[in-house]
């Protein structure tokens, strides 16, 4: 594996990397409305399709009489679930459907089921759906997962779904990177609607014995929904292309999943064309919705382009599952945790949900502790609450169970929670390492200073205006994805460096980060790099947010240095030439200033290839060589502590701090100060780095103060599946987030970077500050009515 500048980079001064306010490559397109998202594509002669949605939380379609629908002028076709056409496609590798492509059983209200209508307009589709005579069989449903524990409750899923409760070893990549831990062989088999999974480490009996007291507490995480801003949609049509054998499929809207679509439709990749780049805020949301996959099938059927677009309500999926955690900590009188027992009840969601946050036990704060006696016992209940489409950007994983625990120990012992955290945090290299973690210490000290941190016990401080004052603190690791093999290809052509990428553009400014790295390594400016968006390019931005950007950035950095080496070799080679050749003709060539120098004597900076020992001797970078030079590099980046050690190694850290005022007469909560001190190792693109912090605080504040997903317990139907009734924060709601960025360069991405991304998202930092103000726990969202109830005032 090449490593021209070292994984952590020896570079001390940066000309491009880290600079703020460089406009994004597609920002102008986005701002001016010319950026095309999936739902923006329309083509002549296009038909529309809509999928039947279940009005029930759990139901089976027994039969559909489509005759009235088909009699409506303008309704072109109704395709039912048992139509042989569905045999023409295979499983999308990014889908978890196991019951045929279009099922006849719906596992949540609003699930696609039974039939698709195709018509000349969206209005006619709606009319046709209403005209379908559907014979439904209502089935038992679970939207209250505590009730779902009842062993006598009928199983809501057929045996075909039991696979999710078989216990496979964690998959590993060929390089040995653990993708994610899942299930454990010693767990009992699923029974009814309930599965179990227990991960145990250390010697629990010894841990309890060392403890002076046991602390028991509960942390409830409610589900959070509604992330994708853009309606998921696609339009597809088939053509004959003289340059390609067989049919060519053009599909727009299934951004970044051209390969999956090709697999699904049994097509060679090169026969699938997809030029759209913009996929909206699909942060770590890897799946396609049916509306993005089904249009090629329907287009083939009716021999016209077909568009299918979800409504907002049809996109109202969850990104965090409901969880009820009961935690027991063994603690010494000094505040040292000696045993952790996390007994959690979790929602498994409707079939097809991502299990990432349900079963992934490694991404938790527990392994940052010196304590090695840790048991996580998960009880997982199948439900009909909704689909959980993973959105890593917003998933707080299991971290705040520990945040609350540290706070409670501090409360009990009358100590500052930052000191409890410091006491319990293991050292940089392992859980047995007792040395301080430099990144944590830096983030902690800076945070305390900027917060003017002066800890007080719960319910003991009032502000001059009479409101109660509370504060809270949490720490976490800065993440970096390094699971995947990343690719980069660069080309020096006609004096310009080209960086081909397929995108997508989803909001994390990845291509910009990579371009900055390339420019940095080649001594060029950001604008000097020609970024070629091309759906056929091997390079993709899909690398997991800013953390992936830095992991991937290492590969890009190496590739840029490969290109640089080749350019310098070519420049040295051409400098020796005495003639210029035009085909058979030759003419004398002026002597190059680089003549008689070897490649290793040369360097590139400020658009020049120059002699290191005498920078006055140079040629312009654009004239360094007439050759076309390509560097092509694909590799796993260095394993990151976050990706492979999950808390057992600590390199780059961050701390978050929150200060609130609670009016105990009205129940209103105001965030007075929100501070993030982050050491991502090295910031690649400052402006988007800071925006990413704002984004996760937006999420965190929303889910703790405003957002609540309400299901009718009687019918299992969503009561607020729209943006009027489900309240996202607005410009008037969000707090100003103070940010302090440290760069200790201790990550193992490019230049020691590690990233930021979702690790600052939290479910209980504000809730903990509210407890510190009031002495009472309120389950999020802490709306005024809930606050007053918690305070015993209503």
């Amino acid at each position: 594996m090449p490593d021209y500048t070292g994984a952590n980079g020896l570079r001390e001064s940066f000309r491009v990397v880290g600079k703020p306010n460089i406009p994004g490559l597609t920002s102008y397109a986005m701002a001016t409305g010319i950026a095309k998202f999936g739902s923006d594509f329309t083509v002549p002669d296009m038909l529309f399709a809509k999928i039947l949605r279940s009005p029930f939380a759990h139901a089976k379609v027994l039969a559909i009489d489509a005759s009235k629908a088909l009699a409506i002028p303008g309704v072109v076709d109704v395709v039912k679930w048992d139509d042989p056409i569905f045999g023409d496609i295979t499983q999308n590798p990014f889908s978890t459907s196991k019951t045929g492509y279009l099922p006849n059983e719906a596992h949540k209200e609003g699930a696609e089921v039974g039939a698709v209508v195709i018509a000349e307009s969206e209005a006619l589709c709606d009319e046709a759906l209403c005209a379908l005579h559907v014979q439904w069989e209502e089935l038992p449903f679970i939207v209250d997962i505590k009730k779902g524990l009842d062993p006598d409750f009928p199983a809501i899923r057929g045996p075909e779904w039991d696979e999710s409760h078989t216990y496979n070893p964690p998959p590993k990549t060929t390089e040995g990177h653990t993708w994610m831990a899942t299930h454990y062989p010693e767990d009992p088999r699923k029974k009814g609607n309930v599965g179990w999974s227990t991960k145990a480490e250390g010697d629990m009996a010894s841990g309890w014995k060392q403890a002076d007291f046991i602390l028991e507490y509960e942390v409830n995480v409610h589900d959070v929904v509604s992330l994708l801003p853009n309606p998921q949609a696609s339009v597809a049509w088939w053509t004959d292309d003289m340059y390609r054998p067989g049919k060519t499929l053009r599909i727009e809207g299934a951004v970044q999943r051209r390969g999956a679509i090709a697999t699904m439709y049994k097509m060679p990749d090169e026969n699938v064309i997809q030029e759209g780049l913009f996929q909206g805020g699909k942060y770590c949301d890897w799946g396609l919705r049916m509306a993005q996959e089904i249009t090629p099938l329907l287009s083939k059927r009716v021999n016209r382009p077909v568009r299918c677009c979800n409504t907002r309500e049809e996109n109202f999926d969850m990104c965090v599952n409901e969880r009820f955690a009961h935690i027991k900590l063994g603690v010494t009188n000094e505040g040292l945790i000696t045993a952790v027992d996390d007994s959690s009840l979790l929602d498994h969601g409707a079939p097809g949900s991502s299990e990432m946050t349900v079963y992934d036990r490694d991404w938790t704060g527990y392994y940052t502790l010196k304590c090695e006696n840790i048991t996580q016992r998960y009880t997982v209940v199948d439900s009909n609450r909704g689909f959980m489409h993973t959105c890593g950007q917003f998933v707080p994983y299991s971290w705040d169970m520990l945040t609350v625990g540290i706070y409670l120990i501090a409360e009990k012992l009358g100590k500052d929670p930052t000191e409890i955290a410091r006491l319990n945090l293991h050292g940089p290299d392992s859980q047995k390492d007792t040395r301080p973690v430099p990144s944590f210490e830096a983030c902690l000290n800076e945070g305390k200073k900027l917060m003017n941190w002066n800890w007080h016990p719960a319910g003991t401080k009032r502000l001059p205006d009479g409101r109660l004052h509370g504060a809270s603190f949490r720490y976490q690791m800065c993440p970096r994805h390094a699971f995947l093999k990343y690719f980069c290809k660069l080309e020096y052509r006609d004096g310009v460096v080209h960086f081909p990428t397929q995108g997508p553009i989803a909001g994390w400014f990845g291509t910009e980060c990579f371009t900055m790295i390339i420019a940095e390594e080649l001594g060029l400016m950001f604008d000097d790099i020609a970024v070629d968006y091309d759906y056929r390019a091997e390079h993709t931005d899909e690398a997991g947010g800013s953390d992936g950007v830095t992991g991937h950035g290492w590969v890009v950095k190496e590739c840029a240095n490969m290109l640089k080496k080749k350019i310098l070799e070519a420049a040295a080679r051409e400098a020796q030439e005495t003639v210029i050749r035009f085909g058979p003709m030759e003419m004398p060539k002026p002597e190059s200033p680089l003549k008689s120098y070897k490649a290793e004597d040369l360097d590139i900076m400020d658009g020049k290839v120059f002699v290191k020992s005498d920078p006055s001797k140079f040629v312009l970078f654009s004239q360094a060589t007439t050759e076309t030079i390509t560097a092509d590099f694909g590799s796993y980046s260095p394993k990151s502590a976050w990706a492979t050690q999950f808390g057992r190694k600590l390199d780059t850290m961050n701390t978050s701090w929150c200060e609130v005022a609670v009016d105990d007469e009205t129940g209103e909560v105001e965030i007075l100060k929100y501070l993030v001190v982050a050491d991502p190792g090295k910031v690649i693109r400052l402006t988007s780095f800071e925006s990413q912090i704002d984004q996760v605080v937006f999420f965190s504040q929303g889910c703790q103060l405003l957002e609540e997903y309400i299901l009718d317990p009687e019918t299992g139907v969503k009561l607020n599946g729209n943006m009027l009734d489900y309240r996202k924060p607005t410009t008037l709601d969000v707090p100003i987030v103070d940010k302090e960025i440290l760069e200790l360069r201790s990550g193992d991405g490019a230049y020691g970077a590690s990233g930021i991304a979702h690790n600052l998202a939290n479910s209980h930092l504000i809730i903990t500050a509210i407890h510190n103000a009031t002495g009472v726990w309120v389950d999020p969202p802490a709306t005024p009515d809930r606050m007053l109830k918690a305070l015993g005032k209503c």
């Binding site: 701002a31 984004q695 996202k728």
Partner: protein
Amino acid sequence: MGKTQIGISLKSASEQAAAAIAAMPEQPKSIRCPICDIRCLTYSALTDHYAANHPDCVIPTTITLHVNGKACSLIIEPHLTLKQVLQYHLGLIGAKEMCDRGACGSCTVIIDGKPALSCNILAAECEGKIIETVEGIAVIPKWKPLIDAYCKWDAMQCGYCTPGFLVAAKVLLDRNPHPTEKEINEALSGNICICGTYPRHAQAILEAVKIMAEGSDS
């Protein structure tokens, strides 16, 4: 085939916005029955077709919309929203549909100088009114500092809601060329950004205000 054309500078984005406006048809390209896709030569032929074949249906109506300085005569179904007509009949995609019911501001356009939610307004109601969309703003040099500042400050992440914010910002600055941060946040509070870019909008608008003021002084 393969390389995607995107506006990677204001110049190219403005040119593409201008091209989108230029491509808006001033007359219907063809007269087509929206129910059965049959082409008719004239509007009266379409009404005859409706009388014969769809007697219970509402006949498409003829209207003229004044969009971004251009008068476009259209034959549309009366139930279509302005957002749908902008996209399906005029090819303008800057007004985005997010919430489906006037709660998010992504589809904001300007009608007779006031911000309006195009997903909640029937196109048929807009006849005779002056409609501006984000594409129209993009081609006016006066607003270059605003667009520049939006891009410089990343007042966008995924970019889906951004045009709606930019339109709302333009309306604010038309009304109040020197807004405070509080006034900006109030003016933009009807626009939802799920990527949480809110602080960036005030930052960008305040910078644009300063640059626009300096420009007008000079």
